[in-house]
């Protein structure tokens, strides 16, 4: 894969056409997580931290093998451990690598009002550009997977980049490289889809997992991170993977059908200012000085 795959396809809060759209081949990348062969070794967690240069932190034992309760702004990748007792009493210990799903229709991007803070490359990677982030956290509410995390110190939001820096240089993401069992795969979406469907079929036909299936939820236009699950009917059992993720209604309304309303409100605001000016005239300099003095008290 070349840098060409990092051509931007969509930009948050950006009016007008996307610069350079459709100038490169549309080559969707995808990470496939075969949950049925994950052993929860956390090599991906460590590789992610090391590649992104984040420090190790203090954690506290919490009655689980899971490193910590949730992702954090500088912890993009977390294996969620869940003991699951089925209706027939069968115990399974589900381990799911949780990280950004890189939705084809990303709720975060839709919700983001800051120009350029969230971009989607033509290869499908959804990437946050912290220098343009205004810290409004709309992306957090826009995400159906509860992925973006806010750094309270810098007021910026972070999440997994699918190692866009590595992928752009023709490498696989760090987590893929670290995985010892080969439960993680990386390639084109089409290839991963084939691999995933083949594996799910194998599970249905040759193991007790007759409900095995591929998690590539249509509610967000499919994802660039897919799972093979033992039981596609119960994704919630894997530490809260939503069964049918959707971009929240408010975000969808706000960004599409009701966008005119927002624009109208904005226009009304500008109009209001103009009318105010006409009615009351310009603000006097004295008033401003007086306010400055009172501010400095």
């Amino acid at each position: 894969m070349s840098n060409g795959t990092l051509q931007i396809k969509a930009i948050s809060g950006h009016a007008g056409p996307v610069p350079g759209l459709d100038t490169s081949r549309d080559y969707d990348v995808c990470k496939l997580i075969d949950v049925t062969t994950c052993i929860g070794c956390k090599a991906c967690e460590v590789a992610c931290l090391e590649w992104n240069g984040y420090p190790f932190r203090e954690t506290v034992f919490d009655n689980t093998y899971q490193t910590m309760p949730d992702l954090e702004w500088n912890y993009y990748n977390l294996i969620r451990f869940n003991e699951h007792v089925a209706d027939n009493g069968t115990l399974s210990w589900l381990m799911r690598k949780d990280q950004c799903m890189h939705c084809a229709d990303p709720g975060c991007l839709r919700a983001c009002p800051a120009d350029g803070a969230i971009v989607q490359y033509t290869n499908g990677i959804v990437d946050f550009q912290q220098e343009y982030c205004i810290g409004c956290q709309y992306c957090v509410s826009g995400c159906p997977f509860n992925i973006p995390k806010f750094n309270h110190e810098t007021k910026k939001v972070h999440k997994c980049t699918l190692c866009s820096d590595r992928v752009g240089a023709g490498l696989e993401p760090a987590c893929i490289k670290a995985c010892p069992t080969g439960c993680l795969h990386f390639g084109s979406k089409d290839d991963m889809k084939d691999l995933a469907e083949g594996r799910a079929k194998q599970l249905r036909e040759h193991t007790a997992h007759i409900n095995a299936g591929v998690y590539d939820p249509p509610g967000v236009g499919g994802t660039h991170v897919m799972y093979v699950l033992h039981d596609i009917d119960h994704p919630e059992a894997y530490g809260g993977l939503p069964k049918n993720p959707q971009i929240p209604l408010l975000v969808r309304l706000w960004k599409r059908p009701l966008k005119w309303l927002g624009n109208l409100a904005m226009a009304a605001g500008v109009l209001g200012v103009f009318v105010h000016y006409l009615r009351y005239g310009p603000k006097e300099a004295e008033e401003i000085d007086a306010k400055r003095n009172s501010d400095s008290d």
Binding site: C38, I39, G40, L49, T59, F61, D62, G182, T207
Partner: protein, 852 residues
């Protein structure tokens, strides 16, 4: 491993028991996953806990810790009852047809024949084969199977053995397997008691679950099919019992019964728990071995010749069969070893300096060393690359023993529990002042700072190169050891001493004597010709000074040198073969013949002649390892044949060339094991019930206990009712990584895994502090309340099991910051060992649990 890591991808069914490879060997475990993905192989996991391995298994059975022999005995019983066995293999490649001497008794009352209660040991002379022509049986029979040669009728010769019991050279046998004293019949009788009901009573595995697992594992031999293979994968969950060797024996017998040994995707596969523990074993990390598994001399061995006579086996087989009996070459290996040790000082005239070798008069195992130190006999300890106190067992005894020692030398890269034993919990500042032990800490180097070879579980020697230089004053191990040795030698030179010769004459011809390069050491381990050596049959000569291409070149006349015969062939005139990195695998079987080098002679699967039928044709045409080539009159193949290359199938040479019999031992005769020729289920030293097979003989009669005031043992009557087992976590490496913030982040604190129901009984919530107490000590940690261990019914009693990871202690990031409890898991474990291998019983003991 008989096979290797990559070979696991060739299997059709895996029995993973006594090991948790997903947890402890995640990189190797990829091959188990590969077998599932590529071959639809089935994975059965049997463990006291639902583990990370169980999480990806097709079937999981929760077993009571320590009940493994009952389970495997039940499997053997099932395979025999349902004829899920490899008959041709069994008859021709194992000792199933051999006839055992009259007077041998099975342990139906808990004791084999020959038990002497006074010495707590067995007279093993009745554990032997019957000599052909000795009367009671007709040797040979018409019950011949397959294409094997028809044995002749009763054969003269053999006869009575000498005063010392040895195996008869000509063994009586019955290929119909029907003789009442045929090994096969004894096997049937021995395991007839291991019914599914009995398995359930002992192991706690419900009968229907056991039957499903037995059916699945033995399904590879359904309807006499020989193509499929099954593998057994284990680790220290089997070895760390007072009957660990016998558990592995049971596994080996099951695999022989199913015809799985020697075959791709088969075998009995020990997963080694450190990156070079196999290498340590190969060069004699154990007191009763010399390098290459030569048996140490004892005081009874008066000279080199008598030592050789004792340890060199003589072929013992049916008259018409052939046995290579490769250990008959022992003198060549021993002389070459002594030449490597003592150089020119090892001469024919002085028995190759036999007198220089220490004579081992009794047990000097790990637990025994500590017992001796506790009793004031051992005055000092040098600990390299290990944390002796944390390793245990019964850590407090080790700590107290160190208080009595004169000196302690610890070479490590972190301050650890052993170097800091004087600040163990419970020792006050005043007490510390009174500890007189002189402690030295040496600056060791980390693994990435050293070169040299690792030998992995698959017996592959792989060279590694230094990644980073040693920091500060840190020194390589070989420099530290050499400098100590040279100083000691100087002292002997100056001051003499009782017996300076072995020290003064030790061959030390390294280019840099106080810091030898490891490639030079590796070349010495391989060995070289000292004078020109000729192989007349091959028409080849190795010139003096040349590196030998293999151990068939070793001689017992002093013309060759080899530090470790099994590694001979690893560093030849072609260079260091362990440095090879050619990933090609023409056969697709994961052999990779030019990657590294595996002992012996780069064979990837041991006993691989057994991958063929009697006529020399592979059992499975899709997984061809080696085969007999009639045109060339030799064995050839994708792997290196582990066999006499020119022995034609019609000669019926046994594939198990390291056994004097040439065949696999379903019955292990004479001195092979001290506790029985067949595995029998005995309870762990600390057990919640009396052995349902023979309550009056609950534990193994030859397992000895220690007797100092620190050696206490618990019983249910004393309130120790919970079965406890110990293990490692993926996130940590022994007692080491608690110094690394990355690992500490992943698992920050010690914990105890507790079944939901037991926690509810005791009012314990997840995260609560709990106290675990054994007869020896108490351990404090937080509770992990889990569904992954469920209560069991053992012999009608409700029994709980708990589990404790071993990794924590009183030195480390969290410990030093005062954020965790500071107790050692192995302070709980008992001082009881396996009587064959001397491995402590870390995996099953009794405790009580309470909220702290």
């Amino acid at each position: 491993m008989t096979n290797g890591w990559i070979d696991i991808k060739n299997t059709d069914v895996m029995l993973i028991m006594g090991g948790n490879p997903a947890e402890n060997h995640p990189c190797g475990f990829k091959w188990a996953v590969e077998a599932k993905r590529q071959r639809n192989a089935k994975m059965i996991v049997v463990d006291p806990r639902f583990t990370r391995t169980a999480a990806v298994a097709d079937m999981f059975l929760q077993i009571r810790a320590g009940a493994d022999i009952a389970f495997l005995g039940g499997m053997i019983h099932y395979a025999l009852e349902n004829q899920r066995i490899a008959k041709e293999y069994l008859v021709n490649f194992t000792n199933a047809s051999f006839i055992v001497k009259d007077g041998f008794k099975l342990p139906e009352d808990g004791l084999f024949s020959g038990f002497d209660a006074a010495t707590q040991s067995y007279d093993r002379s009745s554990w032997n084969y019957e000599a052909a022509g000795s009367g009671s049986s007709a040797s040979g029979s018409s019950g011949h199977l397959g294409e094997g040669p028809v044995p002749a009728s009763a054969h003269a010769g053999g006869g009575p053995t000498a005063a010392l019991p040895s195996m008869p050279p000509n063994v009586s046998y019955d290929m119909s397997l029907e003789h009442p004293r045929a090994v096969y019949q004894l096997l049937k009788r021995q395991y007839s008691r291991y019914t599914p009901e009995m398995v359930e009573r002992i192991t706690g595995i419900p009968k229907d679950q056991f039957l499903k697992a037995a059916d699945l594992f033995t399904s590879i031999r359904k309807d006499g099919d020989m193509k499929k293979t099954g593998t057994i994968i284990y680790a220290v969950g089997w070895t760390q019992h007072s009957f660990g060797t016998q558990i592995i024996r049971a596994a080996a017998m099951l695999q022989l019964l199913l015809g799985n040994v020697g075959r791709a995707g088969g075998g009995v596969n020990a997963l080694r728990g450190h990156s070079n523990i196999q290498g340590a074993t190969d060069v004699a990390g154990i007191f009763d071995n010399l390098p290459g598994y030569l048996k140490v001399p004892t005081p009874e061995d008066k000279d080199f010749a008598s030592w050789m006579t004792r340890i060199t086996p003589k072929a013992s087989k049916p008259g018409q069969w052939d046995s290579w009996n490769y250990w008959s070459n022992t003198p060549k290996f021993a002389v070459s070893f002594l030449k490597a040790m003592y150089g020119d000082a090892a001469k024919k005239e002085n028995g190759w300096a036999f007198d220089y070798l220490p004579k081992v008069d009794r047990e000097y195992s790990w637990t025994h060393i500590w017992d001796d130190m506790y009793r004031g006999k051992v005055k000092g300890l040098m600990a390299f690359g290990m944390n002796s106190v944390a390793i245990g067992p019964n850590s407090q005894k080790n700590i107290d023993a160190l208080k009595k020692a004169d000196f302690l030398v610890v070479c490590d890269i972190y301050p650890e529990e052993t170097s800091d034993f004087w600040r163990a919990p419970g020792i006050t500042a005043d007490e510390t002042k009174n500890i007189k032990t002189e402690v030295y800490r040496l600056p060791g180097a980390g693994f990435a700072e050293k070169d040299g070879t690792f030998v992995n579980s698959a017996r592959w020697l792989q060279w590694k190169w230094t990644a980073v230089p040693t920091p500060g004053d840190a020194k390589l191990d070989q420099e530290i050891l050499s400098r100590i040795f040279l100083k000691v030698r100087d002292l002997y030179r100056k001051e003499g001493g009782k017996f300076p010769d072995p020290i003064l004459n030790l061959a030390w011809n390294y280019t840099i004597p106080d810091n030898p390069s490891l490639s030079e050491v590796a070349k010495e381990l391989n060995g070289r010709a000292l004078t020109d050596v000729e192989d007349k049959a091959a028409g080849q000569t190795m010139k003096a000074g040349q590196q030998l291409p293999g151990y068939s070149w070793l001689r017992d006349d002093g013309s060759t040198l080899s530090g470790n015969w099994i590694w001979c062939g690893s560093w030849t005139e072609a260079g260091g073969l362990m440095q090879r990195r050619d990933p090609q695998d023409p056969s697709g079987l994961g052999i990779h013949p030019n990657w590294g080098w595996s002992w012996p002679m780069n064979r990837r699967v041991l006993y691989n002649r057994a991958s063929c039928d009697v006529s020399g044709k592979p059992w499975d045409p899709d997984r061809t390892q080696v085969w007999w080539n009639e045109a060339q009159k030799k064995w050839i193949g994708n792997d290196v044949p582990d066999f006499k290359p020119d022995s034609p199938p019609k000669d019926h040479m046994g594939p198990f060339i390291m056994n004097a019999e040439g065949v696999g031992r379903i019955f292990a005769p004479l001195a092979a094991f001290v506790d029985g020729p067949f595995p029998e289920f005995y309870e762990p030293a600390e057990s919640p019930i009396a052995n349902p097979l023979h309550p009056q003989q609950s534990q193994s009669p030859v397992v000895k206990r220690y007797s100092t005031a620190m050696d206490k043992y618990g019983t249910p009557e004393k309130g120790f009712t919970v079965v406890c087992t110990t293990y490692r976590l993926t996130e940590h490496y022994h007692y080491w990584t608690k110094n690394n913030p990355m690992n500490v982040q992943l698992v920050p604190e010690p914990f105890v895994e507790i079944p939901m129901e037991l926690a509810a009984d005791l009012g314990i919530q997840g995260g609560d502090k709990v106290k675990v107490t054994s007869a020896r000590a108490s351990y404090f940690a937080k509770a992990m309340v889990t569904h992954r261990i469920h209560p069991m019914t053992i012999d009608g009693k409700k029994i709980y099991q708990i589990g404790i990871p071993i990794h924590f202690g009183y030195r480390g990031i969290q410990e030093d910051a005062g954020r965790t409890s500071r107790s050692l898991t192995n302070s709980l474990s008992p001082t009881v060992t396996d009587p064959n291998a001397y491995t402590p019983e870390f995996k099953s003991f009794l405790v009580k649990l309470e909220k702290a």
